[in-house]
């Protein structure tokens, strides 16, 4: 395997990519691996999206129409698992792979072979997870939060493969995070100080720290499940002196930082895009860094707000309520800063900016419904209803997913060398924006009226809102085919982008040619004035 094709004979240590499939299998290049992550994430996004549409098709009308209840709950479970671990997280890791080395002026990720390992574990892990559909007992059917004893005593035998799948994803995340953290701490161009780094790099530094802290806890909790299932231990069995609520504590100690893992890199993306299209520097750079750190710290001490109805002591409920509300402060700082950046800016609304502005507004709606859920007595009413579904879909879809789409439009010209079709991009945005709101806004109402989640049937009074919601879901889902088309068209096209691409974009990546050369910054950049915008 020494078929090295040298494109650049001037500097013989610069190799171009190999030809053919093996380029992708054997690559150690951060840009190739970033591309792999992003395509993998997109495939998983469509897979999880199909599951979501099965759910919405069943809920289009009351009564059982299309799928059996057993299959419905497998759909909700796998939709959640695939979207969280297969779509959102790998997309952010892919963006980090592409962007962090260019943004800090590094030649590549710190440990390039391990980087390839982190990626290639994922297709194996998700193949195993998806294969459970065809195994005896069917796919996991206990929700993406896999509460014991549903996931232990009453689980199908495929739970074993689910557990090992989670172990593999965890190993991938841990190695990926080590790589990102080491790249940021050790590979910055000489003279680039931490407080000069772009916010995307900062948010990923903190995200990687969170991942390293909580993915092992997730591995711990699934290992406890494995032992309870196969070795008769009593972690989650009160009959043996354990406690099913212990599962929820350990799971949410992972789970709450996990939800910030899925949003902090989004903050970084939006903090890069808004200044570019407002043609102003980011308002309050330092406060953004401190707010991100504060959110990360708070994420470790609020986990039991997911468990108010599980039977925890009242003092615990009060503490977790107040601690949770504190998160609104640093998050408010961020939203304030984004708005202040736009204030009196010379704004234009290209597709990345549209997605970013929508992010700020819709993520804030999701944050405010989160505040409502933090109130203990109110949560007794909201718990496990569609209000919760609406809340976390508002922060994840027009939050995390919109930020990923914004990032793709923003950096696609840098990656491919070509401009995407602006008219189609805007069409994609408006279809997605309308679709998302039609899907999830009515779920606030059905939830407040008491419609429970994860149930394939519902009472007649919820029929209208569910029908609207399903229509929105199909609109949003099918709009993503347009997204795929736009990306493929941009790769094929020949509408050359300039190096800076956007008139007011700042950052080291924009000093590179478009498309970015296979190896960039093999020697560190000297002009660091451009480092952050």
């Amino acid at each position: 395997m020494s078929a090295v094709i040298e494109h650049d004979h001037h500097e013989d240590h610069h190799h171009g990519p190999d030809k053919g499939l093996m380029r992708w299998v054997l690559t150690t290049n951060h840009k190739d691996i970033g591309t792999l992550y992003l395509w993998f994430s997109f495939i998983m996004f469509l897979t999880g999206g199909v599951f979501a549409l099965v759910i919405r098709a069943e809920l289009f009308q009351p009564g059982l129409q299309i799928v059996e209840p057993e299959f419905f709950i497998q759909m909700t479970t796998m939709h959640g698992l695939i979207m969280v671990f297969g779509a959102v997280m790998p997309a952010f890791v892919g963006l980090a792979n592409w962007l962090v080395p260019m943004m800090v002026g590094a030649p590549d990720m710190a440990l390039p072979r391990m980087n390839n390992f982190s990626f290639w574990i994922l297709p194996f892990a998700f193949s195993m997870l998806l294969a459970t559909f065809f195994m005896e007992g069917g796919a996991p059917n206990f929700g993406w939060t896999f509460y014991a004893p549903l996931s232990t005593e009453y689980a199908p035998p495929t739970v074993t493969f689910f557990i090992f799948g989670v172990h593999l994803m965890g190993a991938s995340s841990i190695m990926g995070s080590i790589n990102i953290i080491v790249t940021i701490l050790n590979m910055r161009a000489p003279g680039l100080k931490l407080m000069q780094m772009p916010l995307f790099v900062w948010t990923w530094l903190i995200t990687a720290y969170l991942l390293l802290a909580v993915m092992p806890v997730l591995a711990g909790v699934v290992t406890m499940m494995l032992m309870d299932i196969h070795f008769a231990t009593a972690f989650f069995d009160a009959g043996g002196g354990g406690d099913p609520v212990l599962f929820q504590h350990v799971f949410w100690f992972f789970g709450h930082p996990e939800v910030y893992i899925m949003i902090l890199p989004a903050f970084g993306i939006v903090s890069a895009i808004i200044p570019t299209f407002a043609r102003k520097r980011l308002f309050g750079y330092a406060s953004m860094v401190y707010a991100t750190s504060a959110i990360a710290f708070l994420s470790f001490i609020v986990w039991a707000h997911h468990m108010f109805t599980a039977g925890i002591p009242i003092t615990g409920e009060l503490y977790f309520m107040y601690a949770t509300m504190l998160i609104a402060i640093p998050t408010g700082v961020k939203v304030f800063n984004w708005v202040a950046t736009m204030w009196k800016g010379s704004m234009t609304f290209e597709t990345p900016m549209l997605f970013s502005v929508a992010f700020v507004i819709l993520f804030t709606i999701g944050g405010l419904s989160g505040l409502m859920l933090a109130i203990v007595p109110a949560d007794f009413q909201y718990h496990d209803t569609y209000f919760v579904v609406a809340h976390f879909h508002y922060v994840l879809v027009p939050g995390a997913v919109f930020s990923i789409m914004a990032a793709v439009y923003y950096w696609l010209p840098k990656w491919t060398g070509n401009m995407y079709n602006e008219a189609l991009g805007k069409t994609h945005f408006w279809l997605s924006f309308v679709g998302v709101n039609i899907t999830f806004f009515p779920q606030h109402f059905t939830g407040l009226a008491g419609m429970p989640r994860r149930i394939p049937d519902y009472a007649l009074q919820f029929a209208d809102y569910n029908m609207i919601s399903s229509c929105g879901a199909f609109l949003f889902g099918f709009s993503q085919i347009l997204f795929l088309f736009i990306i493929l068209q941009t790769i094929q096209d020949d509408k050359k982008a300039t190096n800076q691409v956007w008139e007011s974009a700042h950052g080291l990546e924009w000093t590179l040619p478009s498309p970015a050369p296979y190896h960039s910054f093999s020697t560190p950049p000297k002009n660091l004035q451009e480092a952050h915008g």
Binding site: G191, G220, G241
Partner: protein, 304 residues
């Protein structure tokens, strides 16, 4: 900064190692999954064992070549100081993630001891437990579980100041011996390095034998098993995962001894050894935590 003063960062062009490692790790867990499912379902015949065997071999050989490649590249002076700092940071963060893994199990222990035991005995507003299991006495170690037929409690638990105290002494001593071996590298004294590293390995192996005997004693004589309720659960899972880490740490040290015998390690170039020794110190610190919280304050007899 001129280009001459910048030492190039080594980026291998491409590598077959990771894809084989991914395949190996996948086959390993897929094989184990099949074996466990057959075991719990009571079925005998399955391909799980073969899948595990193939996966384990692929993973094992890949890791062997991977580490060998890294050592070889280092000997060829391909690594800059910056590259070596990457390895240092990476090992540090890896150990941090391992600490968090143990935190999950320590957290489970504390939660059960401080809250669950009382609740099961009817304390607080969780009264219904008393209706479910009226005869249950809340105590730690939990010698009799709420559901006595499903979970048969242990007859006795391991006393803290006998074998566990010996094991504590062994591991703390080994932390010192591995540090002396490290100093020997810095002094360039290979004989001293080999002797003290071998002593560390011996202490690790004795620890494992003692713990193996302790497990045998628990299963054969005391009725303390994984299935004997929450005490056995937390006891075996915490000490067991620690034991697995000692095994891995000892294996790492054995590899380092082999390398020392081959003439590897210089005063300014011994990261492999240092990584193994950090891992060893980490394993020691976890043991001290175990000794305090599982044994010493574990509520069992001291046996002294």
């Amino acid at each position: 900064m001129s280009e001459q003063s910048y030492e190039a960062y080594y980026v291998p062009h491409n590598s077959k190692l990771p894809i084989f490692a991914s395949l190996g790790i996948f086959l390993t867990v897929f094989g184990i999954g099949n074996i466990l499912n057959d075991m719990s379902a009571g079925t005998e015949h399955s391909a799980g064992m073969w899948v595990l065997l193939v996966g384990g071999l692929v993973l094992g050989f890949t890791l062997f070549y991977w580490f060998g490649t890294v050592i070889e590249e280092n000997h060829q002076k391909l690594y800059s100081d910056q590259m070596n700092r990457s390895y240092v940071w990476a090992m540090g963060w890896f150990i941090f993630s391992e600490v968090m893994f143990f935190m999950a199990f320590f957290g489970a222990l504390f939660y059960v001891r401080f809250w669950v035991v009382g609740w099961l005995g009817g304390e607080g507003d969780r009264g219904p437990s008393e209706l479910l299991w009226p005869g249950f006495t809340p105590e730690w170690p939990m010698m009799s579980n709420p559901e006595t037929d499903k979970f048969v409690g242990p007859a006795e638990v391991i006393p803290s100041l006998q074998l566990p105290l010996l094991n504590t002494a062994l591991l703390i001593t080994s932390s010192f011996t591995v540090t002396i071996a490290h100093h020997a590298i810095k002094e360039g004294n290979r004989k001293k390095l080999i002797n003290w590293l071998a002593a560390t390995i011996a202490l690790g192996l004795i620890f494992l034998v003692v713990q193996g005997y302790e497990y045998y004693h628990a299963y054969a004589d005391l009725g303390l098993t994984l299935a004997s309720g929450i005490y056995g659960t937390t006891f075996f899972m915490l000490t067991g995962f620690h034991g697995a880490h000692v095994t891995l740490g000892t294996f790492m040290l054995i590899v380092m001894l082999g390398r020392a015998l081959k003439g590897h390690f210089e005063a300014d170039d011994c990261f492999g050894f240092e990584a193994a020794s950090w891992y060893w110190h980490f394993v020691d610190v976890v043991w001290v935590g175990l000794f305090i919280f599982v044994y010493l304050l574990g509520g069992g007899p001291t046996g002294f």
